[in-house]
């Protein structure tokens, strides 16, 4: 029997409102006990004195690029970056090649993950075939194969009727629809948030309204169908307000925010630096404030990274030619501590919730709770220790991060998946 005992950490478990110094015992990959000064023999020891011990963090929005774009990221490299960022579970978006729009691709991803991934990988299936926005994908078979949600992330469903049918189908199979809310007609050709900065730099704008109109549409469709609708990477003031309003009216809507959308605004971009180019774009200071407010108030349920690896050759081009997206797995916790917890905007327990019970509830995952019998997934944090992010040492195959060289106050210290330490800070 394989045992791991984590001694004397400050255990924060939002699901049971536990916040106290405890020992945590994991046996054969499962949580076996949480208590004071547990008597255990023959166990591997982890001294967590002065550290935070939390349920394993979940990133519900990651692009692993496999199959099809292994030069940018693989299931293995992405999972290692996740572990180095303190995540024990990640959900991978379906925009691979081929698109994960059928059970064969879903099974392939799950098999590859079982063999090569160091963290748990939960695939998200496409809403429509080839994410073309026209014909529904084989959603039921994908659910049986193991998807936890559907999304046409990056190629949002523009036809409201198709989205309605997708919501009805997803509801039948008990999974949420995650939408990357963007009206492609309004955003067409845009490279950054539409505002003073885009006008100043002569770059074509992506108006906040291109996000807002789709959030509004999907909220109304969720109300119509009763489906669970989750807003991916929410970034604008009006979208946050609409989600809060819809929640107050009982609509089954949830939302996530990325660290870059609460840490950066459009004015902070070094001129034409494509490591600041993503969708939705970095928005105005006002929008950043609203995202933060949404995290505080609960309009936003989850922090997710939208980790989007692109190789240097793709990001080393004219700004308008560069693809959208930044990597984010390794910097997420540090940014949440810096921008949310340290300034006193949220408590440490709320921060843990945003990474654990938040996504677990959205996706109905049996994770994010330190309960006896639950999977032995643990994230250990230090809220104070300074460290510097060196993107060239990233476990990801890509380097497109705006936070290279950033000095963080606090971050992950160790990542434990199914009772095994898969990463610790000495490896950084």
């Amino acid at each position: 029997m394989r045992k791991l005992i984590i001694r004397n950490g400050r255990v924060i478990n939002p699901a049971t409102r536990l916040d106290a110094v405890r020992d945590v015992l994991i046996e054969d990959g499962k949580i076996a006990g949480i208590g004071e000064k547990l008597h255990v023999t023959g166990a591997e020891k982890f001294d967590a004195a002065g550290l935070i011990v939390a349920p394993g963090f979940i990133d519900m929005h990651v692009h692993l690029r496999e199959p099809g774009f292994e030069y940018a990221e693989t299931i293995e490299s992405g999972s290692r970056a996740a572990a180095a960022g303190g995540f024990t579970s990640i959900c991978c978006m379906p925009n691979t090649s081929p698109v994960n729009d059928n059970a064969t691709v879903t099974s392939y991803i799950i098999e590859r993950a079982e063999k090569h991934a160091v963290v748990n990988v939960f695939p998200i299936g496409a809403i429509t075939k080839n994410s073309a926005g026209e014909e529904l994908a084989a959603i039921g078979s994908m659910v049986q194969a193991g998807i936890v949600a559907v999304s046409d992330d990056g190629r949002p469903v523009m036809n409201a009727r198709v989205m309605r049918r997708a919501m009805e189908t997803a509801q039948s199979f008990g999974i949420p629809v995650i939408d990357h809310c963007e009206d492609l007609h309004l955003s067409a050709g845009g490279d950054m948030h539409e505002g003073l900065e885009s006008v100043r730099l002569g770059l074509r704008g992506i108006p906040a309204a291109s996000e807002d109109v789709m959030v509004a549409r999907d909220i109304l469709l969720a109300q119509l169908t009763g489906a669970r609708f989750h807003v991916a990477h929410i970034s604008s003031r009006h979208s946050v307000e609409m989600v809060a309003f819809a929640k107050s009216r009982g609509v089954t809507v949830t939302s996530e925010a990325t660290p870059h959308h609460f840490a950066l605004s459009d004015g902070g971009m070094p001129p034409y630096d494509s490591n600041y180019k993503m969708k939705p774009p970095l928005r105005s200071d006002c929008d950043v404030g609203s995202v933060t407010q949404g995290i505080i108030s609960g309009a936003i349920d989850v922090i997710a990274t939208d980790h989007a690896p692109h190789p240097g050759s793709e990001k080393m081009q004219e700004f308008e030619k560069c693809p959208f997206g930044v990597i984010g797995l390794e910097t997420a916790i540090g940014l949440a501590l810096e921008h949310l917890m340290h300034p006193g905007k949220i408590s440490l327990a709320r921060l843990v919730e945003l990474f654990t019970t938040g996504p677990a509830r959205v996706l109905n995952l049996n994770r994010g709770n330190l309960a006896a019998g639950a999977p032995g997934d643990i994230t250990i944090l230090d809220t104070e220790r300074a460290w510097t992010y060196d993107v060239n040492k990233s476990a990801s195959k890509s380097r497109n991060s705006p936070f290279d060289g950033h000095i963080f106050r606090g971050g992950p210290v160790a990542t434990i998946v199914n009772g095994r330490i898969v990463w610790s800070a000495e490896q950084r």
Partner: protein
């Protein structure tokens, strides 16, 4: 300017005044003689976007200073064969030119390259961002007729949203205390422009823009190059074209400028373009003088 010239926004007044003063000494009426201060220096003109006047102007400016100038246009070059911008510039950089003059359709392309190449880069127009030498030659042209830019009322009329000429002029004129009135249909005149620099106001009515103007800058309209029809091209001239009948609204000695090439009957009537008020050909002359001053300054150390 050891690093080159990427835009007007980051220049200070003294830098601009130095270039404008120096440009005056390069004007044709001062001297037609060739000068040799840049003998033996190599300048590459790299034009990823078609341009006759700017490219020729830079070539002549370089040659008048005794420099060797080589012009490369994207069509028919390795760029046509799919070479990336970075590879093209790395290749050229390895040949050690003293400066690269660059025109590109992507905003920020010269800024991106300046970060990765040691060679000074002179921006000859990047996308819809800046066209610094155009603003400098426009300022030179105005100052040939007015003692100062301060307090002047300058109307800039047309597709402001997509105009690099407008942006560079706004930055320059604002730094010297001019009042800038931007005019165009709402789809081509983002409201954020109001905050882009001090002294900028917006109007959708050409008559408002022209009232009391000292300088009228017309922009080239390229509705066909926009990504969608942001304004009906059939009625553009009717509402935003400059005709002789408008001129009485402006100051009696107001001048009319245009970065060229002009579209007669599209944004400006032939009568105005050919009138005494038009200084369009003086702008072309000053283009060479200003570019001589810029090349000299960039290559001087």
């Amino acid at each position: 300017m050891p690093g080159g010239l990427l835009g007007i926004e980051s220049l200070d007044r003294i830098e601009i005044e130095t270039i404008l003063d120096r440009a005056k000494t390069f004007q044709p009426q001062q001297s037609q003689n060739r000068r040799d201060m840049l003998r033996g220096r190599m300048i590459v003109n790299l034009f990823f976007e078609a341009s006759t006047r700017t490219r020729t102007s830079f070539e002549i400016a370089a040659k008048r200073l005794g420099a060797d100038a080589i012009s490369i246009s994207a069509s028919g070059s390795s760029v046509d064969k799919g070479e990336s911008l970075v590879d093209t510039l790395n290749t050229l950089g390895a040949m050690h030119p003293d400066a690269i003059v660059m025109r590109h359709s992507a905003s920020g392309a010269p800024h991106f390259l300046a970060r990765h190449l040691p060679t000074p880069i002179i921006n000859a127009g990047d996308g819809t961002h800046e066209h610094p030498t155009q603003a400098l030659l426009d300022a030179r042209t105005i100052l040939d007729r007015r003692p100062t830019l301060e307090g002047l009322r300058v109307a800039i009329i047309g597709d402001i949203a997509h105009s690099r000429v407008a942006r560079s002029n706004m930055y320059l004129l604002s730094k010297f205390g001019a009042h800038i009135v931007l005019c165009g249909p709402a789809s081509l005149l983002p409201v954020e422009l109001r905050q882009i620099a001090p002294g900028v106001t917006l109007t959708h009515d050409i008559k408002d823009a022209l009232r009391g103007a000292d300088v009228i800058m017309m922009l080239r309209v390229q509705l066909e190059r926009q990504h969608e029809s942001a304004f009906s091209s059939s009625e553009y001239f009717r509402f935003y074209g400059l005709g002789l009948e408008h001129m009485s609204l402006a100051k009696p000695d107001a001048i009319v400028m245009h970065p060229g090439p002009i579209n007669r009957g599209r944004e400006i009537s032939s009568e105005v373009a050919d009138s005494q008020r038009s200084v369009i050909l003086n702008q072309v002359e000053n283009g060479i003088a200003v570019r001589m001053a810029v090349l000299e300054r960039v290559l001087s150390n």
